[in-house]
Symmetry: D2
Subunit: 111 residues, 4 copies
Amino acid sequence: MHHHTDPAMKACIEECLRCYSVCLSTAMNHCLEMGGEHVEKKHFTLMMACAEICRTSAHFMLVDSPHHKHTCAECAEICTQCAEDCERLGNMEECVAACRSCAQSCRSMAH
Amino acid sequence: MHHHTDPAMKACIEECLRCYSVCLSTAMNHCLEMGGEHVEKKHFTLMMACAEICRTSAHFMLVDSPHHKHTCAECAEICTQCAEDCERLGNMEECVAACRSCAQSCRSMAH
Amino acid sequence: MHHHTDPAMKACIEECLRCYSVCLSTAMNHCLEMGGEHVEKKHFTLMMACAEICRTSAHFMLVDSPHHKHTCAECAEICTQCAEDCERLGNMEECVAACRSCAQSCRSMAH
Amino acid sequence: MHHHTDPAMKACIEECLRCYSVCLSTAMNHCLEMGGEHVEKKHFTLMMACAEICRTSAHFMLVDSPHHKHTCAECAEICTQCAEDCERLGNMEECVAACRSCAQSCRSMAH
């Protein structure tokens, strides 16, 4: 990333891209293979919404828009919900961890 | 779009995709060709941020996430700022109109 | 879209954004609700890949990159496969029509 | 990423997301600040097209679509052109390195 980017933002961009990768990959591999409640509309939509807001928040930080504070706030909220729903289903530890870590980073970036 | 989608949301998705198209195309064609204040960081970043939030809000409505209310609220805010900045520069009527129309549609979708 | 954009490209951008909207919305609403073979990995992945390449091809035309010829060629190929798979499952006429129409438009744009 | 993902694909996803980040951030910070030939349409469009195809190729690998071979082939081509154009302008070493590294990884993934 560009050399002017501050370290906290740089770390948050990486958290967002990692959480995007884990959520999308888990939904399209693990959840589709498991079936059942893993492909119920509420859970699967939350996984896809989480992947998308992470991708978008990273984008806003990369283009250096001051509105990244708002996308990061929304990202923290969706990631937290996604972590809780993955915990409820069980056996999705990698996704839970990526969401919690991204939520924390985005929350501090939002202030 | 899917036949269950309500007409107001359907219209808002179309407004968002239209505003995304106009902002991105105008930035990458009109603004790069004009140069000067059209490629100053503040204006150009606002154009790109506007295109991205419009693309994302359409995505949230298409996947039918309840969080579309928050992305639409943010979209309305960025579109309004983008319309004002395009008005300030002048000769960007198509972009001003697309942003104002999208802002109005997103604002009502956010409630 | 920007006034310099030629009419054929303008139409292709609209076809791509419409096919993106229909595929994503149908996958996340119709397919998740139907379950069964609609959420089998092969079909669902094809729907999501189709939505993504349509979104990307529109983007390449909007930024006016000469590489849009290659993304449009790939888009035509994926749309054709997606139309065939939706036809096989049945009761997905809107998606079949959007994919066929987008494939045709992208194929002519690719030359 | 999902535990079934093979190591070479995992590495390629990371290369793509890194090149996406570097190209987008460099365009929107370094290039807009430098002005002159950095914001000429041909160079700037290539930077944005490179960011977009990297983002898309990562997405295709994450959703585990067999069409990732085609998006990776296109990604390798655009990254190579982008590296050459950044080299021509000079003082864009980070971008040159990210593009070359991503091109190599995508080329081997395309076979």
